[in-house]
């Protein structure tokens, strides 16, 4: 199935449950959803026949300070049907909160801890939301674009 066919199938199956489905210039299928739609959308993507996205390949975030948002990006893969999907959800930069995917894919546990550690996004319902890379008493979120680097990062001229 090509990405364009998948796109129309997704639009038909999840009409009111997504904001948009696009095929990017790099030929990747990207779904955008709201925080409210996020959890049930992911659950259906895992369980619904024809999708069965049983592998959460990666979960990360991208910071956009100008638009005052952080986008949480999950990359899903189906071992059965062999296709890739990207799910994007925007959260507010100041008060970021989003449900955890731990109940759907256990692998989300550490991915979400990493995003919490480096971006400060709070995953509600996460069983163990602690810092993972930085020390437990660390106060900053290093991968945010406005992170004051304390002089550690030397920018090449």
């Amino acid at each position: 199935m090509t990405n364009d066919e998948l796109k129309s199938k997704l639009e038909a199956d999840f009409k009111d449950q997504v904001q948009s489905v696009v095929v990017t210039a790099q030929k990747e299928l990207v779904i955008t959803a709201t925080v409210a739609q996020y959890l049930s959308l992911c659950k259906q993507l895992r369980d619904k026949s024809g999708y069965e996205m049983n592998h959460l390949s990666s979960l990360t975030a991208v910071d956009y300070p100008k638009e005052n948002k952080i986008t949480v990006v999950s990359h899903l893969w189906s071992y059965k049907n062999c296709f890739q999907l990207t799910v994007k959800v925007d959260v507010d930069r100041g008060n970021s909160s989003i449900p955890t995917l731990f109940g759907i894919w256990a692998s989300a546990n550490w991915f979400e801890r990493e995003v919490f550690d480096l971006y400060g996004v709070v995953f509600e319902g996460h069983p163990n939301l602690r810092r993972i890379m930085m020390p437990d008493d660390y106060q900053k979120f290093p991968l945010r674009k406005d992170f004051a680097d304390d002089g550690f990062i030397v920018k090449p001229s």
């Binding site: 790099q26 071992y79 990207t86 546990n109 437990d136 920018k155």
Partner: protein
């Protein structure tokens, strides 16, 4: 500073041996761990009740640094993401960037990449075999493994001058063409190496002590493995077909014949067996790639400054020596990536360690950890 983590470990006070439960720190400088990984282990006698991996001792913020470097500069840092299998990470980043910018590397470069990535897989699996056997007390295979790995490193050194961090696979091609004597030397090595795998297997595979330590230990069921994000040879040991080279072919993997190695038991021994069989498949892939190697350019024509399109993004996956390696790039129209994310196999494989070791003896932690082929720089990045 007080140790926040140790103070959080709660002891139940119940023990089946009538002794107190206690907490042991393994690492971060344990001589038998693969890098500076720290494990907090809660023990009842010799039985493991809980294993808490503590990450971050090797965190070098490679993703943050990459945001301040141009795309070609980032390749240097990819070597350090997984220094035992640096070629694979070079390739993962180069492929992602090429897809992001619409660059197509010429055929000779692609075949050379396949030769080097598979040689790297051999080198990585050899080191893993030695370290895994060493972890569970058999020190001899380590010497055997390093003996052959040395010859692979000589081939790498002959081509790009480096033995560990190559920076060889570049965006749009490879750094430099191979020397005329590379191909015969590589073939001679493969002929020399092929019978050696049987020698390693003679040392380990049906060795009663090895079987005792690995058979039935750390069993991952297919469902749990998939759900917990286990990938690569570790998941193939549970019989799940998950090879990116087969499922989402890149380079010319769809043009060579090779088998995906699967085992069904899901224990440490199966994971060992998958990797041993994979070495044989890699030899076959390298031979086929050398056969198809024809003269031609080794680098695509590219603009002097590489810029990604505005609002572009890509998630590109390859099968590295340790499993699925993903690179997520977001481009913003400048010469530097807006966001770089490395999805590393070791990170997601390590997650299951706690569940796999509960109820087993303390020495089994090393067997399970070794069989997952975990490497700390990739976990911490």
């Amino acid at each position: 500073m007080t140790d926040l983590l140790l103070s959080q470990v709660k002891l139940s006070g119940e023990s089946q041996f009538g002794t107190d439960e206690y907490v042991v720190n393994m690492g971060p400088q344990h001589p038998a761990t693969h890098g500076v990984l720290r494990l907090i282990v809660k023990l009842d006698g010799e039985t493991v009740k809980e294993t808490i991996p503590v990450l971050g001792y090797l965190h070098r913020s490679i993703e943050k640094i990459s945001e301040n470097r141009t795309y070609p500069q980032c390749i240097t840092y990819t070597d350090r993401v997984d220094y035992v299998s640096a070629m694979s990470v070079n390739l993962a980043f180069a492929l992602a960037t090429e897809r992001l910018m619409g660059i197509e590397a010429p055929a000779r470069a692609q075949w050379l990449r396949m030769v080097f990535v598979e040689l790297q897989r051999l080198a990585s699996h050899l080191l893993w075999m030695g370290a895994f056997a060493g972890d569970i007390g058999a020190l001899t295979p380590f010497l055997y493994g390093l003996r052959e790995r040395e010859r692979i490193l000589d081939l790498f050194e002959m081509t790009c001058g480096q033995r560990l961090t190559y920076n060889y696979i570049r965006i749009g091609g490879v750094m430099i063409d191979v020397l005329p004597e590379f191909v015969p030397k590589c073939r001679a090595f493969l002929d020399y190496f092929e019978p050696k795998i049987a020698e390693y297997e003679g040392l380990l595979t049906y060795n009663p002590i090895f079987l005792e330590r690995t058979k039935g230990v750390g069993v991952i069921s297919p469902e749990v493995g998939i759900n917990a994000g286990i990938c690569g040879p570790s998941l193939r040991g549970s019989g799940v077909s998950c090879d990116v080279r087969k499922q989402q072919p890149y380079l010319f993997y769809d043009q060579v014949k090779f088998n995906e190695c699967l085992e069904t038991a899901g224990d440490c021994w199966s994971r060992y067996k998958v990797r041993m069989n994979e070495m044989r498949e890699s030899i076959s892939i390298i031979r086929q790639s050398l056969d198809r190697l024809e003269p031609g350019p080794i680098e695509a024509k590219m603009p002097p400054v590489l810029k990604a399109p505005t609002n572009s993004e890509i998630y590109s996956r390859i099968e590295s020596s340790r499993g699925e390696m993903g690179v997520y790039l977001v481009g913003d129209g400048t010469a530097k990536p807006w966001k770089v994310k490395y999805r590393c196999a070791s990170f997601s494989n390590l997650y299951l360690l706690d569940e796999l070791t509960r109820g087993w003896k303390v020495a089994d932690i090393m067997a399970v950890l070794g069989s997952l082929d975990m490497i700390v720089p990739e976990v911490d990045r």
